[in-house]
């Protein structure tokens, strides 16, 4: 595949992520923070998110498995996850966290467990999408091309 084609594929793929709600405007903010002095900023932050949050998800899982579930603690974890997912523009993960928190407030264990599953689902889905995105970018760069800037006007 030649560079031009790869770039078009990337643009289309990125667009789809916004249209499907995986990403929101905050991701564009992150891209703006990347420049020649920090060329890998987006990859770094996103990777940090997935690394950090993996642990959070484990903590959440065990917190919900306790005899006496501490819903405040669970809520604190979800709040953390909501915050960091929103910071990288991972909209669907964030939205799943919002729902999760409402059930924490209700102290509804059943629903919380269901929410945890949904959050995990969105989490791994997002991870997958980001990996695809970054791989496409890498391939373009490896082929000597540049990453086209995300055009906000087109969607």
């Amino acid at each position: 595949m030649e560079v031009g084609q790869m770039q078009r594929r990337l643009v289309e793929f990125t667009k789809s992520l916004f249209v499907e709600g995986f990403l929101d405007g905050q991701f564009l903010q992150l891209q703006q923070l990347q420049d020649d002095s920090n060329p890998d900023f987006v990859v770094e932050v996103v990777s940090l998110f997935f690394q950090d949050s993996e642990k959070l998800l484990n903590d959440l899982t065990s917190a919900l498995e306790q005899q006496d579930v501490d819903f405040k603690k669970v809520d604190a974890h979800v709040h953390q996850l909501k915050g960091s997912s929103s910071s990288i523009g991972a909209q669907r993960v964030k939205n799943a966290c919002v729902v999760f928190r409402s059930f924490c407030e209700e102290q509804n264990l059943q629903e919380c467990m269901r929410c945890l599953q949904l959050v995990k689902q969105e989490f791994y889905l997002a991870k997958n999408k980001f990996e695809t995105l970054f791989t496409m970018e890498q391939q373009i760069v490896a082929a000597g091309g540049s990453i086209p800037a995300t055009e906000i006007t087109s969607f």
């Binding site: 992150l30 923070l33 420049d35 932050v45 405040k72 953390q80 960091s84 910071s87 990288i88």
Partner: protein, 211 residues
């Protein structure tokens, strides 16, 4: 941007730890202490601030912030010098929660501004604007140049829910209320911040209602 860097570098060689007596010019980099318990958010805010030409130090908690400012609770026995130049430090709160009561409280207690997360470049740019204005307005060269020469804008993450928000932590023994250093982390930390001197809340906070 390049010109700013050159000027700032020259200034910085003077004032690393000592506070120099010169008035900061508009081109001097202000130093921001960003407090956030989320690693991801620390990374993002650090970049947001650096790209906007601020010097940045990030810490993960309120107690670490106090340590950084030299206000170790062990040493101070909980009683802070109200005349400390550190009270001039403007405090900005960042939170992903839009709880109006809490926002009001923060602003009343002396926070300059309440930024709803996720923080954007435009939020940081706005801070820059009022910091420059603030440094031009304040003219306290006789009372110690610490506040002027090394202005720090402290941004704090407010993570607590309303039910964890311990009202008593905000009660102050001094006439002016403590700054919103309440924030960042679990209740045990916020109690250590209870008598932190207030910031100079001279500027109108920029929140939706006042626009």
């Amino acid at each position: 941007m390049d010109r700013d860097d050159v000027v700032s570098w020259q200034r910085r060689t003077h004032d690393v730890d000592a506070f120099d007596s010169l008035h900061p010019s508009d081109t001097e980099e202000a130093h921001v202490l960003a407090v956030d318990d989320s690693l991801v958010d620390r990374k993002v805010i650090e970049r947001l601030l650096r790209i906007s030409s601020f010097r940045v130090t990030t810490v993960e908690s309120g107690s670490r912030a106090l340590q950084f400012l030299g206000l170790d609770e062990d040493k101070s026995s909980g009683h802070f010098d109200e005349s400390s130049a550190l009270r001039e430090i403007p405090v900005v709160i960042m939170s992903s929660e839009k709880v109006l009561a809490r926002i009001d409280r923060c602003l009343e207690e002396g926070a300059e501004e309440f930024i709803v997360k996720p923080v954007k470049l435009s939020d940081v740019k706005r801070l820059k604007a009022y910091m420059r204005r603030d440094s031009r307005e304040s003219n306290k060269s006789e009372t110690g140049n610490r506040a002027n020469a090394n202005r720090k804008l402290r941004e704090e993450e407010e993570e607590e829910e309303d039910n964890n928000y311990d009202e008593s932590d905000l009660s102050a023994s001094s006439p002016s209320p403590p700054a919103c250093s309440v924030s960042s982390s679990p209740p045990s930390t916020s109690s250590s911040c209870s008598s932190f001197p207030s910031s100079a809340a001279a500027l109108a906070a920029m929140d939706e209602r006042r626009l």
